[in-house]
Symmetry: C2
Subunit: 339 residues, 2 copies
Amino acid sequence: MQDERRLAVLRAIVEDYVATQEPVGSKALVERHGLGVSPATVRNDMAALEEEGLITQPHTSAGRVPTDKGYRLFVDRLTTIKPMSAAEKRAIATILDGAVDVDDVVRRSVRLLAQLTHQVALVQYPTLNRSTVRHVDLVGLTETRVLVVAILSSGRVEQRLVELDRPLDDDAVADIRGRVAGVITGRIIAEATAALGDLAAPPGDDAGPQSLVVDALVDAMSDHRSSERVAVGGTANLARFGDSFEVSVRPLLEALEEHVVLLKLLGEAQTGGAVTVRIGHEGPYTEFATTSVVATGYGPGQEAVGNLGVVGPTRMDYPGTMASVRAVARYVSRILDEA
Amino acid sequence: MQDERRLAVLRAIVEDYVATQEPVGSKALVERHGLGVSPATVRNDMAALEEEGLITQPHTSAGRVPTDKGYRLFVDRLTTIKPMSAAEKRAIATILDGAVDVDDVVRRSVRLLAQLTHQVALVQYPTLNRSTVRHVDLVGLTETRVLVVAILSSGRVEQRLVELDRPLDDDAVADIRGRVAGVITGRIIAEATAALGDLAAPPGDDAGPQSLVVDALVDAMSDHRSSERVAVGGTANLARFGDSFEVSVRPLLEALEEHVVLLKLLGEAQTGGAVTVRIGHEGPYTEFATTSVVATGYGPGQEAVGNLGVVGPTRMDYPGTMASVRAVARYVSRILDEA
DNA sequence: TCTTGGCACTCCCGGGCGGTGAGTGCCAGC
DNA sequence: GCTGGCACTCACCGCCCGGGAGTGCCAAGA
C-alpha cells in the first residue's frame, strides 16, 4: 500500500519536474496532485525514494529531481503511450502525403517530428537491404564515359559515372546493359550483388568495361551511402536546455553533425514496432549523458528499413514524445508501403 | 596624413576586437600595434571615428567597438583577401576530390567550409537551369504505374512516380519514351520544358498517359526542388556568439532551418567570381542583424549555378573567411566542371 | 595646427554581506 | 503508519563598495 503511493509520488515528481523544470518540494506536490496525505508523509516517501536512487536533491534543502533510474522506472512502469488525437493524426497524414519522393518523406518527417515534440528530430534514410532492383540502365555519355543508373523498389535511384579505359560504341553498351539487367532486375539487393559477382570477370573482349560497370553497380547498391545518412531537424529546440550554451549545447550540436554517432544512437531502437527509450547515462555516449533518445524503427510490414526518433533532455514529456514518434513512424511506414 | 592614421586606427580596432572580442582601448592599441603615437593622440582619432559612426562604445568609459559601418569600410578599403597556403589548397582539393556525386560534393563542401572558417557554412545545391537532359527513361512498374527518370548533365537524377488512369502495356510505354526522349534529349532544361509543352496534349489514344508523364517531367525539371535546397553545417560554431543562447542563438538556429531565408541570403551574392559580404543590419533580415554573411557564386565557367558562403558574427575574421569561401567555391566549380 | 602628458571623472565588474523563503529532517503524539 | 510542529540549511537576491580600465578635456610643447 505504501509502496503504491510511493510510486504515485515518483510519478508526480516526474510530471511536475518535466512541467516546471524546477526541483519539486513536498508541499507543492500534495497541492497540485490529489494525494490524500500530508506533506510530512510525502517527505518520508521521498526519503525512501531517494534511498532507492530514484530521485535526488541538487543541494540540501532543495526540492527533489528524478534521476535517470527514476525516469527509467517512470517510463517502464508508470506510464502508457497516450494515443494521438484524430486531429493530430490527420495533420501528420496531410503533411506526409504531400511528399514527392523518398528523400522528401524523410525531410518532411524530420520537420514534423521536431514540431510535434519540440525536440531535435532524427530520421535515418531507408536502408536498401530489402529493396529489389526495378531497373538498370546504362547511358553512354561520350565514347569513354558511361552513366550507370539503378532504380530500386524503394523509389531510390542510385547512379555512378564510369570512366572506361577504352572507347565503347552504343551496341557494346547495349550489350552490357542487357546482360546486367537480365541478371539482376527484380532481385533484392543482396541477390543482385551476388549475381553481379559472376559477371565481373566474363570471357571475351568486353571484360574491362563490363567489370568497371559491374563494380560501379555493386558500389551503388552497397547500402553504405544511403544508410549512413541521417536527417536532423529542430536543433533550435536545444534552447530547452536551460544550461549554458558552451557546456551543454555546443557538444550536442557537434555530435548531431556526426552522423555516425547518430546512427548508433538510432540503431539501439528495437525492431518490431516498439518505441525504445534510452535515458541519460545509459549507453557509452558521453555527449548524450544529459539527454534521452526516443526512437523506433519504421518500414513496410514488420521489417524495419530505418529508424527515427528524437533527442531531448532527460527531463522530457515521455508519454507525449513516445506517442509522436510512434505515430510518425507508422505513417512513414504506410507511405513507403504505398510507394 | 592624419586621415591615414585614423584608418590605421580603425583597422587596428577591428583586428583587435575580432581577436579578443573585447572593447579595445587607446592604451592597448598603441602597445599591440606599432603606431608611433601616444594614447592621447589615438583617443582624438577615436573620437573622430566615433563622430563618423565607424566605431562606438558600449558605455561611457569603455573601449571602442566597430560598428557595421566600420566593418564595411574595413572590408571595402582596408583589407585584401589573403591567399590560402599551398597546404590548405591541397587539403581542400583532397577532400572534395573524394566526392562520388553532386550531392556528395555539396555535403563535403559544407563540412569543409565550416571547418575552415569555424563558422556556419551554407552551400546551395546546384540549380538545374543550365543543365542539359542527358537521358530520359520510363520504367513500367505495374500496369498503371510508371517511373519517370530524367538524368541531367549536372549529374543529378530526377525521378517521378506516375499513376496512370488506365493500364498501359510495355509497347505503349516504349512508344511514349521514344517520343519524349526524341524531343528533349540533349537540350537544356528551358528548351526541353518548352518542347514538352507540345507533347502535353497529343492526338490519339495515349493522350492521357502521355500527358501525365510529360507533366511529371516538367515538374521534375522545374528547378524548384533542387534549387530550393541548402545544405547547412557547422552550427556548433554558433557557440562563438558569446551572448545568451535564448536571445541570440535560438532565433538563428530557427532561421537556419528556414531554407527559403537562407536562399535569399545567399542570393545576394554577386555572380562573376567576387566574394560578397553582407554586414549586420544591411538587408531586411532581422534575425541576422548581428551576423555577417560572406558568400559567392560557384559554377563551371563564369556562370553561377549556385551560391555558397558562411554566416557568422559581425565580429569575424573577414580576410580569412573571404579567402576560404573563395577557395572552396573555386574548387567546387572545378569539380563540377570535370563531372 | 597637431601631438602629448596630466588629471579628474565615469562606470563596469567582482566580492562580501545580510535578509528571505522554500524545503528538509526529525520528533513526539495520535 | 500518519501528522503537525519546529529548528535548521542553503540558494537566491538586492545592496554596497572598492578597484581598475578607459575616457574627455586642457594646457603646454613642437
